[in-house]
Amino acid sequence: MDGAPGAGDSMGDMGEPLVRARGLVKRFGTSTAVDGIDVDIAPGEAFGFLGPNGAGKSTTMRMIGAVSPPTAGELRILGMDPAVDGPAIRARLGVVPQTDNLDLELTVAENLLVYGRYFGLPRATVRQRTAELLDFVQLTDRAGDRVEPLSGGMKRRLTIARALVNEPDVVLLDEPTTGLDPQARHVLWERLYRLKQRGVTLVLTTHYMDEAEQLCDRLVVMDGGRIAAEGSPAELIAAWSTREVCELRFPLTEGGPGPAAHADALAPLVARGLAERVEVLPDRLLLYTADGDAALSAVLAQGLQPVSSLVRRSSLEDVFLRLTGRTLVD
């Protein structure tokens, strides 16, 4: 899980970015959804927007998708201005929205056949791509079925196939696996990874750490409409967290001491350099440290008796917690 594929791609050797935003702002009435963000996305990279619900990820994606005009700031997509060249930009994008928006009155194959025609593709081309894409997303045997009764994972895969019908330069995926069961998620990740290997640029939002670590070369952590940090998953972990984390759970009794009470008892560990810092969550304590096992031994040596303990590598969840003081999925 640690160490992301292709981690460390730097922006330095990037040519013309596919997406370039400077001071990008989106306001709805008096509320500000996106509050001045700078983004560069290079051709061929898998770029992620990571953040909790309401962070401004979807709004950013809709602006990049050239369907939502920015309130302020500069935005260039494929070198074009969405305010002027919206249709030309959208012709080269593939969009997988947060909520599937398949045509439920059509069959699986018809959803691709009619969609391809919006891109001005000849009928024969669309037919051929439909067959290839249904094969790619493993839905060939459902081609003639109505969409409605398909499982969530199948609908998601069909939505992805539809987004590829115009052979896009960039695929925008808004929370591609939210609401899917673990098996369906892994099937989807594998298909997205294949796309990435073919050189398709992926831009995705997620509030799942594991998804970001699996798929993203580079990502930004968004919170409250702003970018809190940027880098590869490994860089972010190195910059904002320790190598390991020791998780401690203490018995929770009604009216008894909560995890915070135990945090004081751990303060000497920090003073002795055995841990960098202690994070208090409602149900457990996180001890950030270079050596989780040594820290755990020290905790036990102090006479503390956690009901359970876990030593693990740092993840993006820890980065997010550090940056915002909150867990991602709450």
């Binding site: 994008l93 439920l104 009155e105 115009n166």
Partner: protein, 258 residues
């Protein structure tokens, strides 16, 4: 409004869906008016014809049939522009998917109106065949009732689409049906001449697009049409269509591109 290739793509998408459920939609758009024609025209009509009858000395069936043709166009066009439009915005998010392609909001609107035009025209043509089988036409000009039905359909579809595009909830559609569409159906000259109404209500009837459509279609079917009033009817319907389309384009753009 120019009809772009994206609009044609949207029309094609709706047609593809229509192929799956045309039978059930034909029940509402064709069978229902045919039942009205049989029930009112044949049975009630014999009573009417035994009395003073309708103006012009024609049988009640001949009077009623072109009215029903146009009233059915109103029903079909309104039906296609209420729940299906709000649903495509809010529930199925069909328009969102379309707008992720090079298509724009105006293309969606043009494609939608093309589809409504198709639905209204094919339903009216099917009804026209029944009308001819009933022997309810007095003039070959009755075929021109088809474009009248089409224009009347658009005169309803465009403003109703504008309304649907501005709604958050579907409750207003029931009110639209109860307080505007059904009263128009009953009191705008489909079943009896509006000069039977009290004067104030008669003026109301004159203001409705349905009355203009029904009257023009009837004048054509009975062969009593005159150029001046025909132009007035067409102008009235075109105005509703144009104003409704402009409002719908604005409402859809606001709703979908934000």
């Amino acid at each position: 409004m120019p009809v772009s290739s994206a609009a044609v793509s949207f029309f094609r998408q709706r047609l593809t869906a229509h192929r799956h459920f045309w039978r059930s939609s034909a029940v509402g758009s064709v069978l229902e008016p045919v039942l009205f024609l049989a029930a009112m025209g044949l049975t009630l009509g014999t009573l009417v014809d035994r009395g003073p009858g309708v103006p012009g000395g024609v049988g009640y069936l001949a009077f009623l049939a072109p009215g029903l043709l146009v009233a059915a166009a109103m029903q079909t066009a309104t039906g296609e522009s209420t729940y299906p439009v709000l649903g495509a915005i809010k529930w199925d998010r069909l328009y969102e998917a379309v707008l992720a392609t090079p298509a724009r909001a105006v293309d969606v609107l043009a494609g939608h109106l093309l589809y409504v035009a198709f639905r209204v025209t094919t339903s009216a043509a099917a009804f026209l065949v029944v009308l001819l089988l009933f022997g309810a036409a007095e003039s070959p000009l009755v075929v021109l009732a088809l474009p009248v039905a089409l224009l009347t359909g658009l005169a309803f579809a465009a403003p109703v689409t504008a309304m649907a595009a501005a709604l958050e909830e579907d409750a207003a559609f029931a009110a639209l049906q109860r307080f505007l569409i059904v009263p128009m159906f009953l009191f705008s000259g489909t079943f009896f001449p509006v000069d039977r109404l009290p004067a104030v209500l008669e003026w109301f009837a004159w203001a409705t697009p349905l009355w203009h459509g029904v009257t023009l279609a009837r004048d054509l079917a009975l062969g009593t049409v005159d150029g001046g009033s025909a132009l007035l009817h067409v102008g009235h319907l075109a105005l509703w269509t144009a104003a409704g389309t402009a409002l719908a384009a604005r409402a859809l753009q606001r709703r979908l591109v934000r």
